[in-house]
């Protein structure tokens, strides 16, 4: 059965104040591999969620084989042959592969019994047909990430998907798993399935796609047949500007080591080793940027540096003090400031006021004896709120109601702000994805604050997925891959493409290529 011809015409969708999709039009021809590329926030995921029925467009229409259709929910989309493999898998850990794949369309036996044997046979046959090696009886919790992704693909195929949408599929895969995925996708294409690949990795586009569409800031800015475009052309369309120049900074000779690890080993939630033998120093007056794809151990590294998770082995020093065991409080008292990657989870108490959030982590410093709160707290808040341009600067405002940018500025005001006399000064700063989900104006401001901290003699560890940010701010760059530091360089000596290669597991023996 041939895949349908899918057309998206003038799709517009707003998320809050942001126009996530601005009159986007796209043609998905049957049997093609169509890549949609763009940076974070370009609108790619939103567009596909509209196609899959998860979001409703504010205007525009979707046509399947020329007929306009309404997709009120994923079921309608599945009915029409659309299938989606989400970036965050929708799998039920305690159930088996077969159970996950057939859920909702289970074969019946007798009075409402689940015909497990038939289901397993069906799943095995499907897997064989599309060369998706998977054990129908295995429990999801026991599977590797790559295998889980195959289950997600099987789920879609089982429901008759002829158009398969994959949202950043390689973000969580090892290079071998990526190769395996490509084999699968080519087999699917051979079978007549259309594939939509949402990605920001141009190597994949070149390797797999027939057609590419480039999105930027919610609009389609270009595209065409992949064979006729160079990666440079595509990336320029994606970025839309000359790469941001290195931020002006005072030349500084870095001082003593203020944040150091030696042979750090940290396990993740599942008990698997996520950080392997990491050793580095961040010195006073320098910004070290840690580049890497999410999921290569950065989260566990940050948690252990912040004192929130005990390392399995190795040491951490802050401000020159070796820290034993783990306690977020001890790390803070040694001079650590933490701008966490998940601001709503780790950085703020959404239901508390701005004034209250400004002392989170600094409550001992802000209290007079046992007393903390009231008008004194609000008065104390006015200065930082104004200085860090948090809008509106109302101390009684509720943190959860501020925009992402203002929330991040609030956290920065708290973490980077000057400490009172008697409180331990800030020596080292962890800044994890400090500008994620933040508007341009706030980004400029926050970058300025980080540089100011560096100039004042702090050690800053910047962890970010945005290579442009890493390149713009860092004095030195480290690349993290599969739990290890695999490369060290400076912004002057490298570029986004090279960093991207290191981030995806390039082996050192290959020569540097521009």
């Amino acid at each position: 059965m041939l895949a349908p011809h899918v057309s998206l015409r003038d799709i517009t969708r707003r998320c809050g104040n942001v126009v996530a999709n601005d009159r986007v039009s796209l043609e998905l021809l049957p049997g093609q591999v169509h890549a949609i590329v763009g940076e974070n926030g370009a609108g790619k995921s939103t567009l596909m969620k509209v196609l899959y029925g998860l979001f409703q467009p504010d205007s525009g229409e979707i046509l399947i084989d020329g007929r306009p259709v309404r997709l009120p929910d994923p079921e309608a989309a599945m009915h029409l042959g659309l299938g989606m493999v989400h970036q965050h898998f929708m799998l039920i850990d305690t159930l088996s592969v077969t159970e996950n794949v057939v859920l909702g369309r289970e074969p019946l036996q007798g009075l409402g019994a689940f015909d497990r044997a038939k289901a397993e046979a069906d799943v095995a046959a499907l897997a064989k047909r599309y060369s998706l090696p998977v054990d129908p009886r295995a429990r999801i919790s026991q599977l590797s990430v790559g295998a889980q992704q195959r289950v997600e693909i099987l789920k879609a195929l089982f429901r008759g998907a002829r158009v398969l949408i994959l949202d950043e599929p390689t973000a969580v895969l090892t290079p071998q798993e990526v190769d395996e995925l490509f084999v699968v996708l080519r087999a699917l294409q051979h079978d007549g399935v259309s594939i939509v690949l949402i990605t920001h990795k141009l190597g994949e586009v070149k390797a797999l796609a027939d057609v590419v569409t480039v999105m930027r800031a919610g609009r389609v800015v270009g595209g065409g047949r992949v064979a006729e475009l160079t990666t440079n052309q595509i990336s320029e369309l994606m970025v839309g500007r000359v790469l941001a120049p290195l931020r002006q900074r005072t030349a500084r000779v870095p001082g003593e080591s203020l944040l150091a690890t030696r042979s750090l080993e940290v396990n993740d939630e599942r008990g698997l080793r996520a950080v392997r033998g990491v050793s580095f120093d961040v010195r006073a007056g320098e910004i070290v940027g840690l580049a890497g794809i999410d999921g290569n151990g950065q989260h566990e590294l940050l948690e252990s540096l912040a004192g929130l998770c005990a390392p399995h082995a190795g040491t951490i020093s802050i401000g020159g003090h070796l820290l034993a065991g783990h306690s977020a409080r001890a790390h803070r008292e040694a001079g650590l400031a933490n701008i966490p990657s998940d601001r709503l989870k780790r950085g703020l108490v959404s239901d508390m006021t701005l004034a209250e959030n400004l002392v989170l982590g600094r409550q001992r410093e802000a209290s007079h004896g046992p007393w903390l709160g009231g008008p004194a707290l609000e008065a104390r808040a006015r200065g930082p709120l104004a200085e860090y341009d948090v809008r509106p600067p109302e101390p009684r405002g509720i943190a959860g109601q501020r925009s992402g940018g203002n929330q991040q500025k609030l956290i920065a005001a708290r973490e980077l702000g000057k400490r009172s006399a008697g409180a331990p000064p800030v020596r080292a700063i962890l800044a994890a994805h400090p500008t994620r989900g933040v508007d341009l104006g706030a980004i400029e401001f926050l970058h300025g604050q980080l540089l100011a901290a560096r100039d004042a003699g702090c050690a800053v560890l910047l962890v970010s997925c945005e290579l442009s940010e890493v390149l713009a701010l860092s004095d030195r760059i480290l690349v993290m891959y599969e739990g290890r530091i695999v490369h060290e360089t400076t912004p002057a000596a490298t570029n986004e493409r090279t960093l991207g290669q290191w981030m995806t597991g390039r082996v050192a023996s290959q020569g540097e290529s521009a």
């Binding site: 306690s327 977020a328 409080r329 780790r346 108490v349 046992p370 903390l372 709160g373 009231g374 509720i398």
Partner: protein, 348 residues
């Protein structure tokens, strides 16, 4: 986005409990009408009896007092993110301890009263610390544990009391006069005859203290942070386990003190099952009062008034109607608050 939206959302937060009360009263009216009585007349009678006469107000205050203690206890625990369903047994053990100290401790008069109060607080606090520690150390959910402890407390008291109870009835010896809490009618003769006593004043003081603790101290700040976002509190260097144990202990201590209303201020001895469900109603009080000391005050007064008012109408409408209303209020209150929270999120 106008500035009135968030304010509207906040107003919704206070409208929800009010709506819940009205809805429960309306549902109660259905029951009353089903029996053939006039709801308005019945409610008016209840109100007049509960708040309209000196004696009635005194009785209302007497019934309000334990609810104030338990409501505050539950509210404090909720603020730290914990369900303290054990207030009933914490109050029970508090009263028991107070009675034992009051009846048997060879202390001079001036020390006896403080000693009994201390005993009540320590007993309740210890009984609250147990589930708090289990939660902190093992992550064991405090709901089931506190319910289990409610039952264990009954067995514990029966066992300890075996040798101590007066043979004819199941109660302890009278406590020494030095530990008696005087009645309010010594101050305000309007309350003559009503068993409302100085423990009410203790409750009011506690209400103020809890408010100050929660909103004006660093400790209260940390407890609230743990309750609202434990993950962020952890990142801020606050010890979640320590906060949990502390919150449950304080909560238990407050509940324990609530036992003195009956034991020191009214009967002057301990008897089995004296708590009469004040612990569970305390949960309703805390919910309705949105876990704020002032709200708890109003809610406790409401339930206390209901409880006494029901006695007067007992000839015409079974006073058990009040229990029905209590349950309905909880259900309506949480439903209204869930809806209000969703609307507030959407409008903010």
């Amino acid at each position: 986005m106008s500035a009135s939206r968030p304010r509207l959302a906040a107003a919704l937060g206070w409208a929800a409990p009010l709506a819940a009360v009205l809805a429960a009263l309306a549902a109660g009216a259905v029951f009353i009408a089903a029996i053939g009585e006039s709801p308005l007349e019945i409610y008016a009678l209840m109100f007049r009896e509960a708040f309209g006469t000196g004696y009635g107000l005194g009785q209302t205050l007497f019934k309000t007092t334990p609810l104030l203690f338990t409501g505050l206890a539950v509210a404090l625990a909720f603020r730290a993110g914990l369900f303290n369903i054990g207030v009933e047994s914490q109050m029970y053990l508090g009263g028991f301890a107070a009675a034992l100290v009051g009846a048997y401790a060879p202390l001079p008069g001036v020390l006896l009263l403080p000693a009994t109060l201390l005993a009540a607080a320590v007993a309740g606090g210890a009984w609250g610390a147990i589930p708090g520690s289990l939660k902190a150390r093992f992550g064991a959910h405090e709901v089931i544990n506190t319910i289990m402890l409610n039952f264990i407390a009954i067995s514990l008291v029966s066992w300890i009391g075996r040798g101590l109870f007066e043979t004819a009835s199941v109660r302890t010896r009278d406590i020494a006069a030095g530990a008696w809490l005087p009645r309010l009618d010594t101050l305000l003769p309007e309350f003559r005859g009503a068993p409302a006593n100085f423990s009410l004043l203790l409750a009011l003081v506690l209400a103020v203290l809890v408010g100050v603790l929660l909103f004006r101290t660093r400790l209260g700040y940390e407890l609230r942070a743990v309750g609202m976002n434990a993950s962020a509190a952890e990142a801020a260097g606050i010890s979640i386990g320590r906060s949990q144990v502390l919150a449950m202990s304080l909560s238990g201590a407050i509940a324990g003190l609530g036992g003195v209303n009956f034991v020191l201020g009214y009967k002057h001895y301990f008897e089995l099952e004296f708590t009469g469900g004040a612990g569970f109603i305390g949960i309703a009080v805390a919910l309705l009062g949105r876990n704020h000391p002032f709200g708890v005050l109003l809610a406790a007064l409401f339930f206390g008034g209901l409880s006494h008012g029901a006695l007067v109408i007992n000839q015409r409408v079974p006073r058990e109607l009040v229990n029905v209303l209590q349950g309905l209020v909880i259900l309506f209150a949480i439903s209204a608050q869930a809806v209000a929270a969703r609307l507030a999120r959407r409008w903010a």
